[in-house]
């Protein structure tokens, strides 16, 4: 390897009529044995104080061999023949794309001058980082280290362009398991939380854990190598886990065991149940009811329910007064109306046909079954703290165990609520990053136009004005809606699949860059950012938190237990001194939904006297009174008389 001391040129720009140097691209040669590689940044300076910064896109090597046949002749047809005493003259010819001209005007072809490896300072200037780092109101957010040609330089993104308002959103692509997409986002969030400038306000993030235990241990420190720690040091970032992580997960169908892999007794107390009732669901019925289900008539009837019935006192034509707050109330409401119609022999009720009403009833009531665990029949609600979001807090919604429909509902509702609050400026923070993995599932390039996709399009196109920023990831960018990824100002690529690289979206990349992308090691990424006129390769350390597999190994998930034991487990997690027998004694003979409600209230309140609070919330006579709604104008329901009725 040729040793290059600071200031020594490593190559010279060459230009021929067939291969000229232009204002945007040029060619230069180096010694055969050079530390230069694809992605390295170089500087060309001439004697007229003109400096051009460029990134190496491609490299070629060839010798003065006129035809391969000459090599055969010289070796007398024997590839294993003795080596030639003289090595042929070879060339390493590199193609570089211009990053920046100094001065910027007039834009001229690159001077045919000496080429130098970029220093740390050169890298900052080349990528225009000097415009937002080291200025009066800096907006730089470290994202990784440029390491090429013996130079190491921290690379920062511009917060104004990553988190708004100038532009926003980040999208990361790459092969699962090799592209380190999740690790990268965890590291970026760590950097953002530590370096987000005070003058830009406050920030929080919501991460949707959509598969396995990926994001379940963000509050647990990872063991880092010395090399990783050195990278953190060079970036000026402290390698520490997130200190304000709030976990949310729905219950399983049993209503007491949390549907998360973060269920180890040492951690489960930090997971808040996610439970929504009728109102929370009805507002987003479009997510749950597909196009085949819903027509204009059904839509109108649902709107009628939402506007006139739910959470309002509603008096029907048969003299019943309804106050629908839960799915159970809704079921009673439907039964009363349909029974009333049957008595009256009519097909229409308030302009709605009975068939439409039956259809809507089936679909809506089915939701509480399909999304059981997330959606409750009894109206119990446990939600994210909209309006009280904390600065630098990380909210993880573990939706990995939910079916696709429930995931869609969770995603849509949370993002919609975030948008509403951000529009009103009462969320609690100024910026929210929403991290969604498997974006191709939510915003596919083809397939039906879903509510979720429309919402993602809306965020990607208008979110930056609100401070609502989408960090998304997927294996194949080509399979995601073009406008969603196209609106991401910062695009990151990890190890890529060659088939994916052959798709039209990657035509702008040189063949060598594609090869590099297809062979990128873990921990190295290619970044495109509005300030960088060409993609830049950076390295990043492993995130300061436990990965999903590590976390599961260290904190094995607890097995599901029967109802009583689950209640005991959750209460003892809040107060380890509690005697399980005492808890079981208190909940013995009580209705499960009453126990769940009391448990939820206790978890939310986290009182000092856990058992006392729980008992008080449960009450001394929590036996449910079964009240039949009897209409004076209708006969009792037939089903009630049927001893085999459910």
């Amino acid at each position: 390897m040729i040793r290059i001391s600071n200031g020594d040129p490593i190559g010279r720009v060459v230009a021929t009529e067939a291969l000229p140097a232009g204002p945007h691209q040029f060619h230069f040669w180096t010694a055969v044995n050079t530390s230069l590689g694809i992605g390295a940044i170089v500087r060309v300076s001439d004697e007229y104080d003109r400096t051009v910064y460029a990134v190496v896109l491609d490299g070629r090597a060839y010798s003065d061999l006129a035809t391969p046949l000459h090599d055969v002749v010289a070796s007398e047809g024997d590839p294993a023949g003795r080596p030639a005493p003289t090595r042929r003259t070879e060339i390493r010819l590199w193609t570089a794309a211009v990053l920046r001209h100094v001065p910027e005007e007039p834009v001229q072809p690159v001077p045919l001058a000496a080429v130098h490896l970029a220093t740390r300072e050169d890298v900052e200037v080349a990528l225009r980082i000097d415009g937002y780092v080291g200025v009066e109101q800096p907006t730089g957010l470290p994202i990784g280290l440029y390491t090429a040609g013996g130079t190491t330089a921290p690379i920062s993104l511009d917060a104004d362009f990553l988190l708004g308002p100038a532009s926003a959103h980040l999208n990361i692509s790459g092969i699962s398991g090799l592209a380190t997409k999740t690790s990268a986002v965890e590291f970026f969030l760590s950097c953002i939380y530590q370096t987000f400038p005070a003058h830009k306000g406050s920030i929080a993030a919501i991460c949707f854990n959509v598969k396995g235990p990926d994001l379940c241990f963000l509050d647990q420190p990872a063991e880092l190598s010395d090399a990783d720690r050195e990278m953190y040091r060079q970036l000026g970032i402290e390698p520490r886990p997130f200190d304000r992580v709030r976990y949310y997960a729905p219950f399983k169908a049993d209503g007491v065991n949390l549907n998360t892999l973060r269920s180890h007794p040492d951690l489960v107390e930090t997971v808040q149940p996610l439970m929504w009732g009728l109102r929370e669901v009805l507002d987003y019925h479009e997510v749950l009811l597909n196009r085949d289900d819903i027509d204009a008539k059904s839509d109108a009837f649902i709107d009628f329910l939402a506007d006139r019935v739910v959470e309002k006192e509603f008096r029907d034509e048969w003299g019943n007064t309804h106050r629908v707050q839960t799915f159970a109330d809704l079921e009673r409401f439907f039964r009363a109306i349909l029974d009333g119609l049957e008595q009256g022999r009519g097909d229409m009720w308030r302009t709605h046909h009975v068939a439409t009403m039956r259809k809507v009833r089936n679909r809506l009531l089915n939701i509480s079954i399909r999304c059981k665990g997330l959606v409750t029949d009894d109206g119990t609600v446990s939600d994210l703290p909209f309006g009280k979001f904390e600065d630098r807090a990380l909210y993880v919604m573990d939706v990995a165990g939910m079916d696709q429909l429930a995931q869609d509902l969770a995603f849509t509702r949370v993002v919609s609520k975030l948008r509403e609050h951000l529009e009103r400026r009462d969320l609690g923070v100024d910026h929210v990053v929403v991290f969604v993995d498997e974006l191709n599932k939510y915003a596919p390039a083809d397939g039906p136009d879903t509510y979720v996709r429309r919402m993602l399009l809306d965020i990607s196109e208008r979110g930056r004005y609100l401070g609502l920023v989408l960090f998304s990831a997927q294996q194949f960018r080509s399979q995601v809606h073009r406008r969603v990824v196209g609106n991401a100002s910062t695009t990151i690529y990890g190890r890529m699949d060659m088939d994916e690289l052959a798709t039209p979206g990657y035509q702008v990349l040189s063949p060598a860059t594609k090869i590099k992308l297809a062979t990128l090691p873990k921990g190295e990424l290619m970044i495109r950012h509005p300030h960088f006129t060409q993609p830049v390769f950076v390295r990043f350390p492993r995130p300061p938190v436990l990965t999903g597999p590590e976390g599961v190994q260290r904190f094995p998930p607890a097995a599901d237990v029967p109802f009583e034991d689950a209640v005991v487990r959750q209460l003892t997690a809040l107060d380890r001194s509690l005697a399980p027998g005492r808890v079981k004694e208190i909940i013995g003979g009580r209705q499960e939904h009453d126990v769940r409600r009391a448990l939820l209230a206790t978890r939310r309140a986290r009182p000092e006297d856990v058992l006392g609070y729980f008992r008080a919330t449960l009450g001394s006579s929590m036996v449910r009174e079964h009240v039949e709604i009897v209409s004076h104008s209708t006969t009792p329901l037939k089903q009630v008389e049927d001893p085999y009725a459910p």
Partner: protein, 322 residues
């Protein structure tokens, strides 16, 4: 009228006749012009190793000595103007010595070059002479033809250019020998031009052209029919060059199917007992210089790659020379 088909048939008939006569078929270049007559077609020589001259099979090529350098020179000239009928010739000559460094790549160890003007000074008007002398270029006088002749005058100037090339080559050799006195120096062409350095024991001339024949009769037959990987006995040329040298032929590549001179070179060394004793050893490592092949040069069968590289180096330095 003879058709193309008939011409081809004639070609085949002739080849068959050659083979039937015990000859060897060849495929030389097709010429369209009659070349200039050879200036010195014959020169005298005496056998110093064997008499008559023999063909000696060399066996496997061997790796060259560690310290080997290669010398070549180039020249460029052209009339840049005319004062009356007198051509003003601008000339450039350069010579370089390249050596193999670590990794077997060639690098320049010595370089000499010169740019100058050649003109028949006597024929110049005073004013023109003063103008040319005021330039920072050396002014060389060229032989004055009795009667102005635009072609002959330039040819006479070219002879001066050639002599200047020999001078800078000699200068480059001196430079190199000052740095590496014990190493081998392979020069392109006869060693006769290096008058002051011919005492250098490890000087080796590599001659690619065979306009002058030193052997006759069966000796010549032996030399020109050499099989590949063979050399002739060493002989001493006694005339035709300014200084005597010991010399021998070496066949680098088979000539069958080409020309009788294909792949044939002649090596020269300053006369000494060692030069005769080392002829086989030197020939073996010159054989190894067949690789890499200097395939881009039309003379690749006789031009070893390092010498080709010296030329390339000098050509690259001078560029278009405008």
């Amino acid at each position: 009228m003879t058709t193309l088909q008939e011409l081809r048939t004639t070609h085949h008939l002739l080849r068959d006749a050659v083979l039937r006569s015990g000859g060897t078929v060849a495929e030389s270049a097709v010429h369209t012009h009659v070349p200039q007559p050879v200036r010195n077609p014959f020169a005298s020589a005496v056998a110093v190793e064997h008499d008559p001259i023999r063909s000696i099979e060399l066996g496997e090529p061997t790796r060259p000595p560690a310290a080997v350098a290669f010398l070549d020179g180039i020249q460029r000239y052209g009339a840049v103007g005319w004062i009356g009928l007198t051509p003003i010739v601008r000339g450039y000559v350069a010579a370089a010595v390249l050596t193999r460094r670590k990794g077997d790549a060639l690098a320049c160890s010595a370089l000499a070059e010169e740019e100058f003007i050649v003109v028949p000074i006597q024929r110049l008007p005073d004013r023109a002479r003063h103008e040319l002398e005021a330039l920072s270029l050396t002014l060389y006088d060229s032989p004055d033809s009795e009667v102005p002749h635009p072609v002959l005058d330039v040819q006479l100037a070219a002879q001066v250019v050639e002599r200047r090339r020999e001078v800078v080559e000699s200068r480059a050799v001196t430079q190199y020998l000052a740095k590496a006195p014990g190493g081998w120096l392979v020069v392109d062409g006869s060693i006769g031009a290096y008058k002051s350095q011919t005492d250098h024991a490890h000087l080796l001339g590599l001659i690619k052209t065979h306009d002058t024949q030193y052997l006759t009769g069966s000796d010549l037959h032996t030399a020109l029919m050499l099989p590949p990987g063979s050399r002739t006995s060493v002989f001493a040329r006694t005339a035709g060059e300014e200084r005597a040298a010991v010399t021998w032929y070496l066949r680098l590549w088979p000539w069958e199917g080409h020309d009788v001179l294909h792949g044939l070179i002649r090596l020269e060394r300053p006369p000494s007992d060692d030069a005769i004793a080392e002829a086989t050893e030197v020939s073996r490592w010159i054989l190894s210089e067949r690789a890499p092949l200097a395939g881009r040069d039309g003379r690749w069968d006789r031009l070893i790659y390092p010498i080709h590289q010296v030329e390339e180096y000098l050509r690259a330095r001078v560029g278009e020379w405008r």
